[in-house]
């Protein structure tokens, strides 16, 4: 009789324990969800804060005015033009180089010390703080190669900065192509380069594009290295136009022009004590966030689409 009672009591204890543990489970699930939300909530707060502070500047003049000593008249014309031109150089520097390096590492490199050395360097470069790239650019591009504090210098610097991103995404895209595709091409007599050029690059295009977009978004928002090379912050002129009306219709003077970019313009306005300029900084920040989120969002969406449409 008493044994039965103790068994019953035991069962009750066990049930209580199970209940307790299940409750812990639920409590942790809620905490976990909240922890995941912290970043998102912070980003939303930040974005709303920027829009609330800066909305008065969202008018066409803000995009067509040069920076000015009067906060209300100041605009971001030189900054966004500078950003676009720097991005062009960054793209031309990083993409061919990064894709070629990725192809070499995946398709050509023999398993030897050289390939290992390159691999170690790529993963190491991805972890170098961006300000150190700025120092590299200051010592190498600005003074050793004498390129000056120009759009060319900034573009090359950011190009080096995003090179690891392009290389890694190229490799990942290439790695996902089944070996059978290559074997089929070899079987009909294609050379290695023909296999790579007609098939590998072709099928990995989407994946590479994803990496390139993410890299370009990163370059667009990078501030520290561009400040370090000495980008001027008060620029009330535009670089010479890349397209002219006389032959040969293209000129490269803009490459050596002084410039500013969006994040530097924002940094400059933000580091002034006058609150009126902080409004401009907020508006610029909102624009930077929207553009980078759109670029990153496109890249992520693209990758999702590619994964869904994969044919092998």
């Amino acid at each position: 009789m008493s044994q039965q009672a103790s068994v019953l009591a035991n069962i009750q204890e066990v049930r209580a324990m199970i209940k307790r543990h299940k409750m812990h489970d639920t409590i942790f699930a809620i905490i976990g969800l909240l922890a995941l939300m912290v970043g998102l909530i912070a980003l939303l707060t930040l974005f709303i804060d920027l829009v609330v502070d800066g909305y008065q500047r969202f008018n066409p003049e803000f995009f067509t005015n040069f920076p000015s000593r009067r906060a209300a008249k100041a605009g971001i014309l030189s900054a966004w033009v500078g950003s676009v031109l720097v991005m062009v150089v960054t793209f031309l520097a990083a993409v061919p180089m990064g894709v070629a390096a990725g192809i070499y590492l995946e398709e050509y490199a023999p398993k030897n010390w050289l390939a290992d050395l390159i691999e170690i360097n790529v993963s190491n470069l991805a972890g170098v703080p961006s300000i150190v790239y700025g120092l590299l650019a200051l010592g190498l591009f600005v003074y050793t190669l004498d390129l000056g504090q120009s759009i060319l210098t900034a573009g090359l610097t950011l190009g080096l900065l995003i090179l690891p991103i392009v290389i890694v995404s190229t490799r990942e895209a290439i790695r996902s192509i089944p070996i059978a595709i290559r074997e089929a091409a070899y079987a009909v007599g294609a050379t290695k380069w023909q296999v790579v050029f007609h098939h590998v690059i072709h099928y990995s295009f989407g994946g590479i594009l994803t990496g390139v977009i993410i890299g370009m978004a990163r370059a667009l928002g990078e501030t520290a290295p561009v400040i370090t090379i000495g980008a001027l912050t008060f620029i009330a002129f535009l670089p010479p136009s890349p397209v002219t009306d006389v032959a040969p219709f293209i000129n490269f003077e803009w490459l050596t022009s002084g410039f500013t970019v969006l994040p530097i313009q924002m940094f400059n306005w933000l580091s002034r004590p006058d609150h009126a300029f902080h409004i401009n900084a907020a508006a610029t920040g909102a624009i930077i966030i929207v553009v980078t989120l759109l670029m990153n969002g496109t890249a992520i969406w693209l990758r999702y689409k590619i994964r869904k449409n994969i044919k092998w």
Binding site: L33, L46, N121, P129, V132, K192, G221, I227, A282, I288
Partner: protein
């Protein structure tokens, strides 16, 4: 058949083969050169940093550099002690980590062990979006949103302080830790979880006592890589932590970090070759060595866990 073909046809084909072969080798060479650019970049970084730092250490003794408690290279009474900048860097990074490590880890556990497939499909891209937000924007957040809010709790907090930017840096790093730690946890084989569930454990117990210990080296690697990111972070601290080198570990005070100092000097117009110009390279070398150490330890730890399963 072959014998019936005219001779010059065969030699033409052979010639084409050689051309093809040459072209192949040429392409391979070009691709290899592109890949070597990664090595060249590393070499260039090391050479530039060491070259300018050597010039710096011609003027300043290494002992002074490491032991002097003041950093005033641009003042008349110049002192070159890196310690104040290092203390600022370490303090802001420590605050960032004390925010990011607990929240990031809990997020990772939830994502890996609790979240449904659908939740994960939604949350992972959002984490990636958060990693992509430019840091200068977070600087605005630290300076004009978080610090004023903290001043309501601590009225004596100065406008420039290390607490606000530290917290914001922490928020920036959360998705990074969550994402890396989750990768490590997902690498734990399903059979280990199934064993735990079969014993009657809850998801929470399985996560804490089975999955986390099994993935611990990967999780620690995530922390270490996050430390290295925090150390090198520039814009948030340059904007919101102040520009005065200050040998303190008190988060309520203002202090410059190594990266903030580099930005501050680069903004001014320092002549090439001056001691001020050289000082940013010496500071950069210290920063590079600090982050490199953590990166290497992180990668080694990460490799180890990958080989386990």
């Amino acid at each position: 058949m072959q014998a019936n073909l005219p001779n010059n046809h065969i030699s033409k084909r052979l010639a084409k083969n050689i051309r093809r072969h040459m072209f192949e080798r040429f392409v391979e060479l070009l691709l290899m050169l592109a890949a070597l650019s990664a090595v060249a970049t590393t070499v260039a970084i090391v050479v530039i940093l060491i070259k300018e730092s050597l010039a710096f250490f011609n003027t300043v003794s290494i002992v002074d550099f490491l032991t002097d408690t003041q950093w005033t290279p641009l003042f008349e009474d110049a002192h070159y002690g890196i310690m104040p900048l290092v203390s600022g860097t370490l303090t802001t990074s420590a605050i960032a980590l004390s925010v990011a490590v607990p929240i990031g880890t809990i997020g990772a556990i939830y994502l890996s062990e609790f979240a449904s497939h659908k939740t994960r499909e939604i949350v992972k891209p959002i984490l990636e979006l958060l990693i992509g937000v430019p840091t200068v924007v977070f600087g605005y957040f630290a300076l004009l949103f978080v610090t004023p809010m903290l001043q309501k709790i601590f009225p004596e907090l100065p406008g420039f302080n290390m607490l606000g930017p530290g917290i914001v840096m922490g928020i920036m790093i959360i998705p990074y830790i969550s994402s890396l730690a989750e990768d490590a946890m997902r690498a734990v084989p399903m059979s280990m979880r199934e064993g735990s569930y079969a014993m009657g454990a809850t998801r929470f117990q399985t996560a804490i006592r089975v999955v986390t210990p099994a993935a611990i080296s990967g999780i620690i690697a995530a922390y270490i890589l996050a430390i290295s990111r925090a150390l090198g972070e520039t814009m948030v601290v340059a904007l919101a932590a102040g520009q005065q080198p200050n040998l303190t570990f008190n988060p309520m005070e203002s202090a410059a970090t190594i990266s903030a100092y580099i930005v501050q000097v680069a903004m001014g117009d320092l002549p090439h070759g001056s001691i001020g110009y050289q000082s940013i390279f010496a500071a950069g070398l210290v920063l590079m060595l600090m982050t490199l150490t953590f990166n290497i330890i992180g990668h080694i730890t990460r490799k180890r866990y990958r080989e386990n399963y």
